[in-house]
């Protein structure tokens, strides 16, 4: 620990143009700390983040030879990096800077009492001073990165992201556990909105992949091992002929897709002759060849039942409570295709809500014009499917005739089935993939970090993450590709040095810290005949879960050492005159 007796700190209190000063007497705060130990300068600014204020602070840091600064202003989420960069421009180590939040955590929270808010601000600033006084200069951890990526799953999302990465000069290894690349889209015929065949789309992607020298595609291949961390993962894959190949990649994208919902026996008559799932019906249409036949008989009437295996409110734990997004539009598109083949076909859509959202609403309108009839059912009163003399009947209540019960004689019943997550425990265990409540892989934030996972360098895209249409899958795969390129093209990554460290002289290796760490950053080391814990600073996020569980106080997190925390508590508790 640095000897702090000679510290010279600058303390700057911000008015935030009234946001803070309306409730905190900022001049009083500056006066209260001006003569505290280690404080060499204390002043206020109307807007500390303004160029002029930053300029003045830099001048003061250099003239008074300050070796650390405390800025009491807004949340660090807003301006931590602003002031870190300013400290660097002034020649200071950026980790000799503490931001104290006296806006969100003080002035905005305590508008009822100016005195109390001011007193709290003084205590918070003193704690910031105490922490900074014990801060030692730190350098960011620089990690070299390998310009290659592993894509798991060669469906439309995996192939498209591979091509995008290849275009940016990053080598790509794609592994696909099936014998054939292409995934779900590869088996599809005409798809909405432009009627291009899924198999054609996949073939064009596969042809492009074949022409790239920097893409290697392994089919019948699986990931068997992963070590290392962001920038330099060591992975092992097993190939079709049983070989194990070792690769080093800078990042991993998981595009393992979905599994179509398989209705249970007797669910809406599933199992009866003529009751199909949407993928089965799509296949029938794909091979229609000018006439729509099922088991050699003409199909004159089709009844669709929507939301099968989606939007369930069952009490069971594995209920699929989500909307599968693609199925309404796919079913309506299938109806249009059938009307193309057989213009006088009668089609009944028995739905809960039609979600042909966005640009696909026109397909719904078109299908209405082509004679599709839509009948809404309540979840509590679902349609019944029965079979009599080899003919299918669907019974449903029609709201629009005032609740009349209607029996539809139909040649086919199409269950509009949704998407379910693909269970892949091996992959989840190897990659430590985070799984959401719905069973799909989880991003960090659905809007702000939509393809990132809590594991640095591990990205998810496509329907592995949740139900998506093919175009949404590709959009997310492109997002993942651009995040990977942003990570790897520079050649290195700078990581925060505020990570845990182990005092080897105190550690006896009990393993408690290893269990407490959610990031797998604790390693079991053998050092000079002694077993100790070691921290991989690249994996560590400085989260601190390991610190309180250590029975010997052998672990500390840089920037938040026990000594710093204790001195901050002392400073907070000191009486305000």
């Amino acid at each position: 620990m640095t000897d702090n007796s000679e510290r010279r700190l600058g303390v700057y209190i911000c008015y935030c143009g009234g946001n803070i000063s309306d409730y905190v007497d900022v001049e009083k705060v500056a006066d209260a700390v001006r003569n505290d130990p280690f404080v060499a300068a204390a002043r206020t600014n109307m807007f500390t983040c303004s160029d002029a204020a930053q300029h003045d602070m830099i001048t003061e840091i250099q003239e008074k030879k300050l070796d650390g600064i405390v800025i009491a202003s807004c949340s660090p989420k807003l301006h931590l990096n602003t002031f870190k960069a300013m400290a660097e421009r002034a020649g200071l180590n950026p980790y000799q800077y503490t931001q104290v939040n006296i806006r969100e955590q003080c002035s905005w929270a305590h508008t009822h009492s100016k005195d109390a808010a001011t007193e709290k601000a003084i205590r918070l600033v003193r704690a910031g001073i105490a922490r900074t006084a014990l801060m030692r200069p730190l350098n960011r951890l620089r990690v070299d990165t390998t310009p290659s990526v592993l894509v798991i799953g060669a469906g439309i999302a995996g192939l498209r992201s591979a091509l995008a990465l290849s275009d940016m000069g990053i080598s790509v290894f794609i592994i696909e556990h099936e014998q054939q690349a292409g995934g779900m889209v590869g088996r599809l015929g005409k798809m909405f909105p432009n009627g291009k065949k899924g198999s054609d789309l996949i073939n064009s992607l596969l042809n492009a992949v074949k022409r790239r020298e920097n893409i290697s595609l392994f089919t019948s291949a699986r990931l068997v091992e992963k070590n290392g961390s962001v920038g330099k993962f060591s992975v092992k894959i097993s190939t079709a002929n049983g070989d194990i190949i070792s690769l080093t990649v800078g990042a991993i994208i998981v595009t393992t897709g979905f599994t179509p919902y398989q209705p249970s026996e007797t669910e809406f008559g599933f199992g009866l002759n003529g009751v199909l799932t949407l993928p089965e019906y799509a296949d029938l249409l794909n091979h229609a060849n000018g006439s729509l036949k099922f088991n050699c008989r003409d199909v004159n009437t089709v009844s669709f039942i929507y939301c099968v295996g989606s939007r369930e409110h069952l009490k069971e734990n594995n209920a699929h409570t989500y909307c599968s997004r693609y199925c309404c539009t796919a079913a309506v598109h299938a109806a249009l295709q059938a009307a193309e083949v057989k213009p006088d076909i009668q089609q009944y859509h028995i739905f809960r809500d039609i979600r042909t959202y966005g640009k696909y609403e026109v397909l719904y309108e078109e299908s209405l014009k082509r004679g599709s009839v839509f009948l809404r059912y309540e979840e509590s009163d679902p349609p019944q499917v029965t079979s009599r003399d080899g003919k299918l009947q669907v019974t449903v209540k029609d709201h629009l005739t005032g609740g009349d019960e209607i029996e539809i004689n139909t040649d086919l019943v199409v269950l509009v089935t949704g998407m379910t997550p693909t269970a892949n425990s091996d992959l989840v265990n190897i990659l430590k993939l985070p799984i959401g409540k719905d069973g799909f892989y989880n991003e960090i934030h659905p809007k702000l970090k939509p393809v990132e996972t809590v594991i640095d360098g591990l990205f998810i895209a496509g329907t592995a993450q949740g139900p998506k249409t093919a175009s949404e899958s590709v959009a997310s795969s492109m997002a993942a590709a651009s995040k990977v390129a942003g990570l790897l093209l520079k050649g290195y990554i700078d990581l925060e040095p505020l990570v845990a460290r182990v005092d080897a002289s105190l550690c006896t290796w009990c393993g408690a810290c290893e269990k407490a760490c959610p990031y797998g950053a604790v390693q079991h080391l053998h050092c000079d005949g002694k077993e100790i814990a070691g921290i991989d600073p690249v994996l560590c996020k400085g989260e601190g879960g390991c610190v309180p569980v250590c029975p010997y106080n052998a672990i500390e997190v840089e920037g938040y050492t026990n000594k710093q925390i204790t001195s901050m508590i002392d400073a907070l508790a000191r009486e305000v005159a």
Binding site: V373, L375, D398, D404, I406
Partner: protein
């Protein structure tokens, strides 16, 4: 229990300009009808769309009591050709039930 007869829906639609796909079931037509008929045009058209022929024939007298004043049609927010649809239904009934307009 209403039984659907797809052939019925198809034959009404193909034999005439019957078109009620745009109907949004708002009920303006019923509210504006000067005759105050028991049956709503929207319900009548619904029977055709789902193919409930029996139900339509049960309401033959309603279909013929319409004045074709087009009050409903002028005010239909979805531009459904209501009066023309009523004429189509009459034509269907004339053909199939009364044996008129053969050939």
């Amino acid at each position: 229990m209403l039984k659907t007869n797809p052939a019925f829906a198809a034959s009404v639609k193909t034999a005439s300009n019957f078109n009620a796909a745009a109907c949004i079931n708002c009920g303006s037509c019923t509210a504006l009808c000067p005759l105050g008929v028991d049956l709503h045009p929207r319900t009548l058209f619904r029977y055709v769309l789902i193919g409930a022929e029996e139900k339509l024939l049960e309401n033959t007298s309603v279909i013929y009591s319409c004045l074709l004043c087009r009050m409903c049609e002028d005010n239909c927010p979805a531009d459904v050709p209501i009066a023309e649809n009523i004429r189509s239904l009459r034509s269907y009934i004339n053909r199939t039930r009364f044996g008129l307009m053969k050939g």
